[in-house]
Symmetry: C2
Subunit: 330 residues, 2 copies
């Protein structure tokens, strides 16, 4: 009898009951899921860990990509050749070309006519041909990292990929391919030099105290830091049309209280200046260039009333690249 | 009249006044000095900075020196030869020899008869010949750093001096000369290997995820950390008489949440096992040795319910040693 009564009812009543039951089940499941989410442990991450996870999860986000800043003067043939190379480097977000050819139009049209390009390239026309133009705060710059390269320097992609990964582990230092040092003398006057100069202190090997910015990765906030420096520093760079990189090393060493940079030994890095048709051969060929560098060091010590540069003898290479580079030579 | 009155008084009264005046002046100066001291800025130092300053100021203190722990079994001729080398390494505080020759007296008398020695050497007689004896907490150990070396391994002094300086910059990691890696396979089973094994992931070069402790510097508190590990870990090492170094890398990677070690490329490191008269050739010659290492990795993943090892491709060398090692090969 009951069955007849129930069976007579159309699917609608049964349907409603099933529907209600389903809704209740779903609601309960949602509540349980919500409760479980609330119970998940809050992960306490430090900055580096967060950086690494961002890197893994966000592809080419502004945390795991970098902006190439390349200043150029009178070597447009080299510039365009280099842009063709750098535009395809992994993790590159954007290129900012600091166009120091005053009065001459930047090659935007030529660039666009030869598109499409993997990433945006911005040509920033400058009002005066200043060395420190490349250290401005660029509104177009979105990434935490800057790759700064001179307009005659070709750095291989494996070198860049590796050095960027090293910078990500040491984001407060200049991670680059060209080490230099200051040398103290008994008179208290400093000299600027490269490998061949007397290494300070005793012990084996050599030391460096600067990593030149013209082939390096560094934190983009250091551009703002540079802007905030005493006018005397900017004036020194303008007077010499030199030493912006020495100044940056002073500023960063002073800021972080340790050595300003880490040297990564390049596997494949070349200077293309001999290949330019412009006849222009770069600032470092000026007769007074090296002496100016020593001059700048002593002027900066004077301005900051201290010698903040610190020595390091850490040389980083990529394990296993070139193949078997960890093996000893027989 | 006044003068006469005053002049008549003996030096005593004038003396008292001068005395009082002097005391007041001294008190005032002390108060001012005290106030100035209170006003001095409190220097907020991070651990590394403190470490560096300690290093500069305290000579061979327990912050800037290390303890050599060398475990030995059946190779006393090599041991003594090596001790003659290591005893003179700069910044060495003390040597602890873990004497695994059960029933055989340690060569204390011989050692003492050939004194004086630059540093103390303690021979610790063991009750059983266990691989993990060298990972005990030794009461004689006073330094923050341990240098752990196998009793057949000769590491040159420049290599040690440099690697120690690197450890001081990365005191939470194993800084050593022998890199190894774990290799994941599609089955989820791991394998243990050296350079020749397939590098995980894409890109150039190789990776390592372990730095073997038998030629390395690490923080002495990791010995306590090892003692606190699950009994299953100790049992694994006892069963295999192997893998204490793999376990240490697991433990440290898990503890610090990043790669357990940093590889420093040795310039001059040799294995002397062929030179022993004992006929004993070391554990790694056992047929099952390499397979045991893979076995240990998978057992440890099981025990810890995770794979904490992390890859790195950072290879550190000493800038300028050997001479001009920063130059590219032509």
């Amino acid at each position: 009898m009951r069955c007849y009564h129930i069976c007579k009812l159309p699917g609608r009543v049964m349907g409603i009951r099933v529907l209600r039951f389903s809704l209740v089940v779903i609601l309960v499941l949602l509540l349980v899921a919500g409760a479980l989410t609330a119970l998940l442990p809050t992960v306490k991450e430090d900055k580096m860990l967060m950086l690494r996870r961002e890197i893994k999860s966000r592809g080419k986000s502004t945390l795991d990509s970098f902006t190439l800043i390349m200043q150029t003067y009178n070597r447009t043939d080299l510039l365009l050749k280099l842009l063709n190379h750098y535009q395809a480097v992994p993790n590159l977000h954007k290129v900012i070309v600091v166009w120091n050819n005053i009065g001459e139009k930047a090659p935007d049209e030529l660039w666009n006519s030869l598109g499409p390009h993997p990433i945006p390239v911005i040509f920033k026309q400058q009002t005066a041909n200043r060395m420190r133009n490349r250290l401005q705060g660029f509104p177009e710059l979105e990434t935490n990292a800057v790759l700064m390269v001179d307009d005659d320097t070709l750095i291989s992609t494996p070198d860049l990929v590796f050095a960027f990964s090293v910078w990500q582990q040491f984001p407060d230092q200049i991670v680059g391919f060209v080490p230099r040092k200051h040398v103290p003398t008994s008179s208290g006057i400093y000299s600027y030099g490269s490998f061949e100069m007397q290494a300070p202190g005793s012990g084996n090997g050599d030391q460096y105290s600067m990593v030149l910015i013209g082939a390096s990765f560094f934190n983009s906030k250091y551009l703002e830091l540079f802007q905030r420096q005493p006018a005397a520093v900017h004036a020194l760079i303008d007077d010499t049309q030199n030493c912006d990189d020495i100044a940056m090393n002073f500023i960063i060493a002073k800021h972080i209280g340790k050595t300003s940079g880490i040297f990564v030994k390049p596997v494949n890095m070349d200077n293309l200046e001999k290949e330019t048709n412009s006849g222009y051969s770069g600032m470092w060929h000026r007769a007074e260039h090296a002496l100016q560098r020593s001059y700048c060091i002593n002027k900066l010590v004077n301005i900051y009333d201290s010698m903040p540069l610190k020595y390091s003898n850490i040389m980083i290479s990529q394990f296993g690249f070139p193949y078997a580079n960890y093996k000893r030579k027989m």
